[in-house]
Each structure stands twice: as structure tokens, then as C-alpha cells.
Amino acid sequence: MSTNDNPKSREKAPAGQKAADWADGRVGLYNLAKSNLRKIFPDHWSFMLGEICLYSFIIIILTGVYLTLFFKPSMGEVVYHGSYVPLQGVRMSEAYESTLNISFDVRGGLLVRQIHHWAAIVFVAGMLVHMMRVFFTGAFRKPREINWTFGFLLLVMGMFDGFLGYSLPDDLLSGTGIRFMEGAVLSVPIVGTYLSFFLFGGQFPGFDVVPRFFTIHILLLPGIMLGLVVAHLILVVYHKHTQFPGPGKTNKNVVGMPLMPVYMAKAGGFFFVVFGVITLLSAIATVNPIWAYGPYRPDQVSTDAQPDWYMGFSEGLIRIMPGWEINFAGHTLVLGVFIPLIVFPLVLTAIAVYPFIESWVTGDKREHHLLDRPRNAPTRTGLGVAWISLYLILLVGGGNDLFATHFHLSINAITWVVRVSFFVLPPVAFIITKRICLGLQRRDREKVLHGRETGVIKRLPHGEFIEVHEPLPQGKVFELTAHDQPKPLEIGAEVDENGVVRKVKRTQKVRAKLSQAFYGEGSQIPKPTPQEHEEITSGHGHH
């Protein structure tokens, strides 16, 4: 901002204040600052995961702008005469040639390209971890469901923008990825061929693919994402940040440090830490060595042709799917590709709709600003871990060849393990996680009632050995008992005392069953009541 100096009228005011006055007169800076500078944020490392995403997104935009200065989004054929010797004289597209030039002939080009790519990998990874944090602590509950949805859309768009981005250089690997996508589109019954022709402007690969992907990659998706990021942040400020339960922390307050100066410094500094770490990563490790892949030609393919990790689970789906194919009325239906194409969005949707399912099942319409400890919501935690286990096993399926070569296993055996695990692992993970949660709840109960084990063994006069237990401090007891333990929904008697049958909707019954599964006897350990605590700690008890 220029500071519109006018030294004669306000001689005494320092330049900063003058600038602020100027801004206040035009955008109402003081009111904005008053309401936001003292905004309180709670302190917890997991609340900074979203910041990692935000900062890597900014880094991606900054480096992306630099790359667009040199990248030629064109499929026009040229012969390479640049400085990378092993490709001299090879025919390639202008897109590939310009990416080679960025890598070898533009000053700082390779570093910026690698920052752009590593930041994308970290960005999507950060979003997934951030989403898991929100999931397991129940931060998606009212009033934050919309923000959960925004976050989910950002994840999906981040995935697809990443896919489009690494497809642009038109190297052998990315061309294979687009070929994969073409196959998936072609497998759609009836309209598949038309869709593919529409997408590629004719026969694959054609000349339209790179310019089209370029526009979507640098304009359409980032534009929408930027809007969503802003909306996401506005909602965070509007809802205020959630916090973990603790003494003095209630559903109605936020305990932490103010934005100015503490979080200004912490968050501002953290931006540079993120930029630094990603730059360091880009300076020491290669990402996407397009020069080694060679230019794309539809008649060539290399092994180790996988997508970037965030698309890895779709690769897993296609690799574990048997190559089924049926012929119906003269049309071939490629189920081996079509089924994975259908399951792919379902895997993502499963986690996206969970908050709405939970709020329907529990019938909970209250606002929640205090986070759940994952153990205190065993069913939710179990379902989340089940989803992660499914996601991870699909990643293993997607990288089955590398598991085979590096662990000296048969790729067929790995594929079968993944096929079976796809169905078996999530339920097993659910059961085990739920049991661990219940075990931890029992442990909390034990700690509240009997205190901490000190390891000090005492011998009583009559010869008995006991371990001295130290009662927990009051704050800790509060922390362990602050959570709600909702009761499952009851439908009530279906037949009243006069024998009249009350009509209960089927959905009501399902809901009651699910509610029982969430909050029933098997799903939570009753937390100690004040009376129990009183009775045991008053000294009349056993110890």
C-alpha cells in the first residue's frame, strides 16, 4: 500500500498510523482489526495441519505462476535440440520439450518444478491428515458440517488438479496415466466412446488434451479451490476454533492465545518453515524425472507406471479387479474397469457423508465446540480406522509390483491378499479399534477412581503388599470425565397398554438399531459418576 503521505496536516502521527488511518477510512480497517486481531486460537499441534495445507497451496500457486511463464501447453511436434543429451534428436510434443527446457535450461527451473510437485504431494497428504484429525475428534459436528464438506471438496479437487498437473508434461508416465483415464471413460456403458471423443477432441491422444488440461489445471480448478479455501477460513473464524476438553475449557469459550501477536508470529513463521522444508525436499530429492521417462508415445509403456500417491487407491482398485467382461446384445461391458470406476468415488463418498449419517443416527442437534477424544467415540473411531485400512490396502494394491520386487514376493499372491483384505480388513480393523477404545475407556475409569500407579510397593502391618496409587490432580480427573455419554435412542413400546399397535417407520427402527450400536452397552464404558469417585476417594474404600 502506498502511504498517501501528507506531512503538513498530521505531522506528529507516525507513518504506520497514517497508513492505517488511510485504510480505515476506506475499508473499515479498525473495526476489522478490533474483532479479529484478538481472535483466540487454542494451542495444539494437530490444529496446525490445516495450516500446512494452506501454506503448501500458496507455495503451489507461487511456483505454478513461475512455471506458466515457460511452459508451452501444446501438442505440436518438434525435434529436441536442447541440452539434455540422451534425448537430442528425439521427436516430442512442445509440452514435453518446454518441460525439459524448464528442467535444464531455465534458471532455477528444475528447483521450482520440484518445489511445485513436492508441495502438491505434501498438500494432498496434509489435507488427508487434516481431514482425519477433524474426523477422529468429531470436529465435523454441528455447526461445522458445511466446512467439512468444503474441506472434502478441496481434497477431491486437489487430487484431480494434481492428476491434471502431472499429466501436462506429456512424458511417457503421464501419457500412460491419461491412457488409463481414457480406458476408464471408455468403459462407461453406452456413452463411454462419446465421452472419450468429447474429452480428447477425437481419437486419443489427439492435440487437444494438453491445452484443455492446462486450462483446467491452472485456471478452473485452482480458481474454485481458492474460493473454497477462503470460504473455509471465513467459516473457521466465524465458528471459532474447537478445543480439547480441559479445566476452564467449555463449549462456550475458546482458551488459547490471541491472533495478534502470538499466532501472527507462529503462523507467519510456520509459513516459512513449510516453504523451507519443501524447498529443502526439492533441493535434495528428484520428483517426477520426466527426462528419464522419455516423451509419450502410445506404443510405449514402462513398468512402475503408477499415479502420484493420492490417486494410488484408484490404481489399487483397478489392479485387484479381475478382468471381467460381459457381452450384452452385441455390446461389450468391461466390468474389470467399470466396477473400479464406480467404487472409486464411493470410497471417497463413504468418508464424506459420515458426519451426516452420524448426526442422523444420534439425533444430536446441539452445537459442539469441544472435541471428542477418539476413544470416547469408539464406533466413529472404529469406522474411521476401517476406512483408513481400506485406503491403505488399496495403496498396497496399487504398488503391488514394487512390493513384489522389493520383498521378493509373488505379485499374484499380493494381489490375492489385497482382494481378500479389501473385504475382510475393514471389519477386522473396526472390531479391533473399537475394543482398543473400550479398553482405553476402562483405563480412564480406573485412573479416575483409583489414581495413578506410582510403582511404590508398601507392606501393610498384617503382611499384605499393596501398590500405592496416587490420586489424579483435579484437572486431569475433569479431563477424563468431561465427555458426554449419550443414551441410545429408544423407539418405545410398539404396542401400548390397550393393545393398540403404534406405527413405527422402518427408518426409525434402523435408526434405533444404529443408535444402539453407537451408544449401546457394548459401545461405551460408563464413566465414573461423582458418587463413585466420592465413595472411593473419601478414604472409606479399600486402599
Binding site: F47, G89, A285, A292, R297, T303, Q306
Partner: protein
């Protein structure tokens, strides 16, 4: 002339004619007969075959049969040629340690001289591709860029774009080409060992083979300046994802924990 006609009835005349005839026959034979038998080293070749046969009987015959005819444990070696022997024994694959999905490369147990003797013996069983000469496989004579295109068309689908190797079905695999002798690469293309298809000169001319060798040699050489930093194995996005998660996001989360642990302290004023 008179002298000749006078003496033609001489008792020794028949002998003289016979001598001339024999000399002519011998001379003609010497002039037109196949050169092979006349070569001086035929004795050393036969010695090599003899020695090779002995080595074969000790080290190979239990699986490939006493006469190289093959058995249930090993294929017939009739007609595989010296190149196949030089590749299999020279890379240590043969003699095989144990049956399995695929015979792995290991430290060769025969010296090159012994390998040559074995090769001579196997070559004597039936005609097959011979050991290539240095001129044929010398990477210096090849075009790296053309070799790269040929490699991506014919080899990369199993050996990966940079020759790092890859998985095949049921525990079989395409081995890494790192540090493989150019001669062995040439022989592998010529003879198609184990899962590998054969690329005879009719489908892949000698020059193309040399180009491929030049590309492989260039991309896998130890002093290849990997332009982007650590190569992460050149195995594609899987290792990149793993690296990004552990060292990228991992480092950032560690920093986040560190930042969050250092909370501002309230000052008494």
C-alpha cells in the same frame, strides 16, 4: 614328343601317371576343400571342447543330461549356442543354486577361460548364436537417443524406463540392468534367457542392439548426474509418495509439534 611316345610303354609309366594323378587330386583338394579342417587351431578347439565336456559333466549334466539333451530338471542345450552359455554362466545364473520362480544373478563360479570351454562344448552340440565380438556390443559406438527410443519400445515395459527392473507374474521378475556387462546385455537380447523374449538380428539389427546398450550403459552408469538430486530408486511415483509422506509431511508435523509445544508465557506486569 618322340621320347614320350617311345617311353609310354615303359613298365614304370603307369606309376608316373598315378603319381601325377595323385598330385593333381591332392592339389585340387587342397585348393577347393573347406578351409576349416586346414586351420591350425583345430587341435586347440578340440581341446577346448574336450575340457568343456569334462566341466559340463561335473557341473551341468545332473540337470541338463549327460549329453546336453535336457531332463525334467533342465532344458536341452542342443542349439542354444555359445552366447547363451556365456550369458548364463558368466552372470552366475548357472549353475543354478535351487529351483524357484526364477534363477537369480549371482557371483559367477567359473573363470572366463572355463566358461569359454563350456561354451565351446555346448556350441559343438548344435549350431546356435555365438559369443558377440567387442565391436558388436561396444556402447561407445551406439546412439544413446535412438537407443532410448528402442529401449522404451522394447524393454521398458518389464525393465522400467531406467533399467531398474520390475515385477513379472508369480514371483518372476525382470532384473535390474545396473552394472551388467554390455556383452551380457547383447547376449541376453540374442538368446532371450528365462522370461525374456528373444531379439534375433532379423527383428532387431546389430546396430539397434548397440544403441540400446549405449542407452542402458548411459542411464545406469554409477556417475550419472541425476539432475534433480537423489533419484529415490527411479521407481516412479510410489517411492516419491513414500518419501513425501515421511520426509515432507513428517518433517512438517514434527515442526508443528515443536511450534505448538512452545507456547507464549504470560508475563506478570
Amino acid at each position: 614328343m618322340k621320347k614320350l611316345s617311345v617311353r609310354r610303354r615303359h613298365p614304370l609309366a603307369a606309376l608316373v601317371v598315378l603319381l601325377f594323378a595323385l598330385a593333381a587330386t591332392g592339389g585340387l583338394y587342397a585348393a577347393f576343400a573347406p578351409a576349416k579342417t586346414a586351420q591350425a587351431d583345430s587341435s586347440s578347439q578340440s581341446i577346448a571342447i574336450e575340457e568343456g565336456k569334462k566341466l559340463y559333466a561335473t557341473g551341468c549334466s545332473s540337470c541338463h543330461g549327460p549329453g546336453g539333451q535336457g531332463s525334467t530338471d533342465g532344458p536341452s542345450l542342443v542349439g542354444v549356442g555359445a552366447a547363451a552359455v556365456d550369458f548364463q554362466v558368466g552372470t552366475g545364473r548357472m549353475p543354478a543354486q535351487q529351483p524357484g520362480a526364477q534363477v537369480p544373478k549371482k557371483q559367477p563360479i567359473y573363470t572366463q577361460a572355463q566358461i569359454d570351454q563350456l561354451a565351446a562344448y555346448i556350441a559343438s552340440l548344435g549350431p546356435g548364436p555365438g559369443i558377440p565380438s567387442k565391436k558388436q556390443y561396444d556402447p561407445k559406438g551406439g546412439d544413446i537417443a535412438a537407443g532410448g527410443e528402442l529401449f522404451r519400445t522394447n524393454c521398458a515395459q518389464c525393465h522400467n524406463f531406467a533399467g531398474e527392473g520390475g515385477a513379472l507374474t508369480d514371483g518372476k521378475y525382470a532384473p535390474s540392468l545396473r552394472g551388467v556387462d554390455p556383452k551380457h546385455i547383447y547376449e541376453a537380447m540374442l538368446t532371450g534367457p528365462q522370461q525374456m523374449p528373444t531379439f534375433p538380428d532379423t527383428t532387431m539389427p546389430e546396430k539397434a542392439k548397440r544403441d540400446i546398450i549405449a542407452y542402458v550403459n548411459d542411464t545406469t552408469r554409477a556417475d550419472n548426474p541425476n539432475p534433480g538430486g537423489f533419484s529415490l530408486g527411479r521407481l516412479g511415483p510410489v517411492t516419491e509418495g513414500l518419501f513425501g509422506w515421511i520426509f515432507g509431511l513428517g518433517a512438517l508435523i514434527a515442526t508443528a509439534v515443536w511450534v505448538a509445544a512452545r507456547t507464549a508465557k504470560a508475563r506478570k506486569s
